[in-house]
């Protein structure tokens, strides 16, 4: 197990390196001159040159990368010239709300996605299966931002049951109950589409496993169907579902961009959208990098989880 973990960590290094290179390149290759962007149209050529030198932009790209990555590793992501504060501080404020929202959505979509997937498989072609299949089709075809708007309209405006935005400070006066009330609609909107994908996958995986020889063996032993399905079949089906949970994590982290915008949630997603429209490049760079690195680690965790649950992988 330790060996396997070490092996996985080694494999992760080049991917992390690649991720930083991509983030660096995307921003460096921006057409136009950042110095111009910062100084405005009335800058003199001398001013631009001065600033370029100050920013290290007159050096060759590899050297720029080394300098940049050195700063990043020490937590220096530069300053947002729109917000006039260090990028790392802004991200620090925004990270937890995003992780809370995405995490809640991931848990919701996993629990319900897997549960309904099992029900659909076990009741294949029954009314439960048909209902779930139709719901799933609608789910995967629904734009999450539109679902968010509909939720705001019905539950926020028409019924006025739940707040539709205005979450400014997660640890403000409202306390925990207020946080939960603000979390319900956005996390549901974010979870719905991800959960639909998972229902399909779990259902397919369960059906596949239920045809295996060892399921016949379990039935030949006279075990109850409950035991056949949950102990013998589900464990095996779940192994196939775990890697997808990693992909789902990426999905909710990305989808959070829409949902945070719709519900005005103070997270990284909304920050990124605002930063892109104000051309606040360093903020975009920092935000994308942090989320991408988090995602690489999430995938590592799902890999390790799979190896814990599947003794066949552990041995390799």
């Amino acid at each position: 197990m330790l060996n396997y973990t070490f092996h996985r960590l080694l494999l992760m290094a080049p991917v992390l390196f690649g991720v930083t290179v991509v983030v660096f390149l995307v921003i460096s290759l921006i057409p136009g001159d950042p110095a111009h962007a910062i100084l405005g149209t009335f800058a003199t050529p001398e001013n631009v040159k001065e600033l370029n030198a100050a920013l290290g932009l007159d050096k060759p790209l590899p050297e720029q990368y080394v300098i940049w990555i050195g700063h990043v590793l020490t937590g220096d992501f530069g300053r947002s010239y729109v917000l006039h504060r260090p990028v790392i501080v802004e991200i620090g404020d925004r990270l937890f709300p995003t992780l809370l929202l995405a995490g809640t959505a991931l848990v919701l979509s996993s629990v319900f996605g897997i549960l309904f997937g099992i029900i659909a498989a076990v009741r294949q072609n029954g009314w439960q299966d048909k209902l779930i299949t139709v719901t799933v089709l609608i789910g995967i075809s629904t734009p999450s931002f539109w679902l968010g708007i509909l939720l705001i309209f019905w539950f926020g405006v028409r019924l006025a049951w739940l707040p539709v935005g205005g979450m400014v400070d997660l640890f403000g006066d409202g306390g925990f109950a207020d946080l939960v009330r603000h979390l319900i609609l956005p996390s549901f909107a974010l979870a719905a589409v991800a959960g639909a994908v998972l229902v399909r996958l779990t259902r397919g995986s369960m059906l596949e496993v239920l045809r295996q020889d060892y399921i016949r063996t379990a039935r030949a032993k006279g075990l109850s169907e409950r035991s056949v399905i949950y102990k013998h079949a589900f464990r095996n089906a779940f192994i196939n579902v775990i890697p997808v949970l990693g992909i789902e994590a990426g999905f909710v982290l990305g989808g959070a961009v829409y949902i945070e915008t719709v519900f005005q949630w103070p997270g990284i997603g909304r920050m990124l959208v605002q930063a892109i429209s104000t051309r606040d490049i360093l903020l975009v760079q920092g935000g994308v990098l942090i989320i991408a690195v988090a995602y690489v680690f999430i995938n590592l965790v799902t890999d390790l989880a799979q190896s814990v649950l599947d003794p066949r992988i552990r041995r390799k």
Partner: protein
Amino acid sequence: MTILIDKLETPDVAPAGMSGRPGALRRLTQNPVVAFGLAILAVIVVIVLLAPFLPLADPSVTDVVDRLQKPFSNGHLLGTDQLGRDMLSRLIWGTRVSLAVGLTAALAAALVGSTTGILAAFYGGTVDMLLMRVIDVLMAFPYLLLALAIVAALGPGLINAMVAIIVVNIPFFARTVRGATLSLVNTEFMAAARLSGSSNVGLVLFELLPNVMPTIVITVSTTVGWMILETAGLSFLGLGAQPPLADLGGMLGNGRNLIEVAPHVATIPGLVILLLAIGINLVGDGLRDVLDPRLKAGGVARTHPATATAPVNRRKGRLTSRRRESDSLIAARGLKVDFTIGRDVYHAVGGVDFAIRPGEAVGIVGESGSGKTVTALSILRLVATPPGQIVEGEILYREEDLLDAPLNRLQQIRGNRIAYVFQDPLTTLNPLIKVGEQIAESMRRHQGLPRAEAMQRAVKLMESVSIANAAARASAYPHELSGGQRQRISIAMALANDPEVIIADEPTTALDVTTQAQILKLLNELRRDRGAALVFISHDVGVIAELCDFVHVMYGGRIVESGSVADVFGGPRHPYTRRLLACVPLLGRPDRPIKPILGLPPATNALPPGCAFAPRCAMAHAECRQGEIEPVFVGADHWARCTRIGEMAA
């Protein structure tokens, strides 16, 4: 989507995915679900294409007086937005933009991604390694986030948003297509094409491309919906289409802040995106089912907990008693099992009678496909449904018809009074559960033993099947044991509740020869010690002769000869039994020629009338090819189904 369908009709795509399955396109359009999807898309596409000719208001003409009109209001079927622009017109023109952008993105991503994937797989080595590392890195980003970074770099705008969506979809195509190509690169037909002097370009274009085309088409059909959603998403965020140009996402984003005063401005474009995506997904699923049945969206059929049986009156309609059953533990009477696959019905078992008395060892011998395994599985209704169904007969366990028994009664008997040992212990043991637990759970279930005691007994059972170091091995997983040890575990599992009958279905076929002998010896000793009856299924005449008291010879789903081992193998009365015995080499008789049976066993979906063996039988005459061949008794317990049994006297 129409573009994709057209592609399928061109002959160069057909050979790979659809060869041997003519009418794939027809099956696609005949599926009502797919037809529904196609209908949705067709309506949308037609309207959108006709947009310039429809009597629509100019989508960008503003009219502040008429702003935020409700749907069905004067002159505006879907109302107006906050600038008084006609919603219907904007919607149709917006859908046009969204569709064009989504399709272009899908085709571009498919082109670049597939090319990357094919080249990586075709050249292999360093090229493959480098390309795939780049793909790995791109895939390390959450999908939408990479798109955002690219838009951030290029600046907001519809084309830039499209480029971003293309880039983030390329890795997916590259990986999928590379996988499909890799499985082809080393196949024989590629080697043949290489030897025939095709150039690399020729190989890729004329050999590989047509064969990976179905994969590409499937991937396009499953991603194009996403791409439309994601480009709409970027526009929604204000990063895609810029005013006055509006796609569906842009309209949605525009209506977002008006949700309290004019909900239709945001809801209607979303509804169109939803419809579009539903249509695409329905057609995509159908396409995948047709091109790659393994990935069927409906999933493979679930197996039922017990084989389905026909209604009682139909099932028992034609039963006649044939063999003395008074003291039997298990008796099968007139057992018929059908497998329905597509339009074909395979009569896997076509009327089988046999009885098993306490402590007796009964062998069932026959070639693959003769119905012996299905017969054995039918006893406790373990034949997979679908596709199997027991259509006729009864299975009596101590006078109780198991085919009438409810599931919970079957579960009481399964693994308790009647237990199975299956063929391949690697696939029949659960890979994720420790072997000790797999034995113990059966005792907990039937004897109600507490956990610890059941485990102790499991270890004892493992010792009794000669597994060294049983206590430690009990916490091993199946893959950690050898084939022989795994089969010992299966036997221990079967013995767990001291059953009256053990049904062993080719228990040694998957094992090497020395292990086979050990397992057979063990099985035989154990069942004698415990006084259990044994049903032993094998294609190996020698093993049956050694192990069993009685033998049934099966052919084409029927028992063709039955009797004691001494009678049947000493004086076979059915030509098939004779030929079967002639195939067996005898130790110490190298002079005896081995005569294989010419021809193939019959397909059970097209059995000939009369004797199924007649087409391969040298003695067959007209009488053998019609009607039911009744069994003829040549001794108290010995009979054969042969019209020329008189000429077959031993």
